[in-house]
Amino acid sequence: MRKPDIFKVPIGPQHPALKEPESFSVSLSGEKILGVDIRIGYNHRGIEKACEERTYVQDVYLIERICGICSHTHATCFVQAVEEIAGLEVPKRGLYLRTLIAELERIHSHLLWLGVAGHEIGFDTLLMYTWRDREIVMDVLADLTGGRVNYGMNTIGGVRHNITPEQAQKVLTAMDKLEEQTKYYIELALGEATLAARLSGVGVLSHEDCVKLGAVGPTARASNVDRDTRRDDPYAAYGDVSFSVITDDHNDVFGRTVVRVKELMESYSIIRQLLKNLPEGPIAVKAPRKIPIGEAVSRYEAPRGEDVHYVKANGTEKPERVKVRAPTLANVQAVKKMLENRYLADLPIIIAAIDPCFSCTDRMINIREVASKNSRIMEWETLRQKGIEHYRKQGIDFSKVKITQSF
């Protein structure tokens, strides 16, 4: 008998199923996926490097633009690290408002995901429904912060916008409306036979594999990994609110859907608690322009999972190093496992189920010389030299900044 042929299908960087440029080289035997090579990096812009050339305040706005869906995530994670280095005590009200926007962002992100997942399985009605409801939370965000997507809410030492009782009332009304709609989605996700049949058993990631591959967020919680930074390492105002961490033991895309829709309900409850117990007082403290020498790691539970920022300060007004570990980077390794022995037709929904965000993830590039086909990875020192030279050409000399103290 003839051995079955292995056929390679390139998917991406432009593909109708992918919302962002990334590339998958899928080895197929018939319809079955034997292996996948994931190639990311199309979205790498060099934001970490650019952060070193800007002041801390400018960085807050630049970092917000790492990702348009979790903009508040990255900005909060960064300012938390800087506040820790500078030893700033953020007022309680500031922390509450920060948490409020974080939860509103989670709602908009999860509703967005539900729609995209619907679209990927050919259920476009769900896309239209959820995106219609998502506009409710977008209106609330625009009302509170002035921006629909990039909120500009954070500043080092607190938040920039206060909330009036009328605005709080508007948020509560919106939550009631959304809760009503979400109940319908829960009913749909748990009860609708066609949806369950399409999603059950697709993209299975066992509990052991999940722990081994270090998946985070709803992807991990759907494999029964009870892990949530909001509870395990409370930041902002999460220590003051009660909520339950949703886990599920389906281990598949169905489980990930259930986790996300149930998390929506938790978010509504958190927002109600925050607004009920909102303390009076200032919303921010004044931050120094120069941040003292030090380093800090900050963790934050983004809608997609745990986001980690590392900031190293050298006593000037610009950071020495900023490092971002986005949740998708932790989850994308697991995709390979999920795709093995599945059908090609399941690929879009499996990739979508981790809620990938490649603009967050693409933190480095591998340079391949076309002529010699050699590939090289730039070391941190080379990259730094390159960066200094690049900016010197533009008239900015960063090499003059001397790091006097080592730590």
Binding site: K19, P21, R65, C67, I69, R132, R148, V149, I365
Partner: protein, 143 residues
């Protein structure tokens, strides 16, 4: 304008099919483009339809600055589109590089790589601005 040309222009304006390509954007403009296509804003009432392949599309909607890795792919996608083709740059990054201008892996705005027909500024461009830009482009085709 001859009758045939008039009919062709009329048909073209009534059914502009778009393809959306993220050239290194942060997702903000992308979700606003999708938001413009969903019930609240409903860009489809102008005949706009999102397609999956550049070969079916008349308008290439780009978001984000052009990163060095995406550059060749962007040119390839542009070349795959059938004439006449138009390019809309959505968002400040696509217009000029925006906050990412000057980053070592960013080439610049979309017009650093391919010709652009319409620019929609904003960080991110709101769905209202996207509708306004799309309608202005279509109106300009009436000639």
């Amino acid at each position: 304008m001859g009758l045939t040309k008039k009919i062709v222009t009329w048909a073209r304006i009534k059914s502009p099919w778009i393809i959306h390509f993220n050239t290194g954007a942060c997702n903000a403009c992308d979700i606003e483009i999708i938001a413009a296509l969903t019930p609240r804003y409903d860009l489809e009432r102008f005949g706009v339809l999102l397609k999956g392949t550049p070969r079916h599309a008349d308008i290439l909607v780009c978001s984000g600055p052009v990163t060095r890795q995406i550059e060749d792919r962007l040119i390839r996608i542009y070349e795959q589109m059938a004439e006449p083709k138009f390019v809309i740059a959505v968002g400040s990054c696509a217009c000029s590089g925006g906050v990412c201008a000057g980053c070592y892996n960013v080439k610049g705005g979309i017009n650093s790589t391919i010709p652009v027909s319409a620019y929609i500024p904003g960080c991110p461009a709101s769905p209202k601005a996207i509708i306004d830009g799309a309608v202005k482009l279509l109106t300009s085709l009436k000639g």
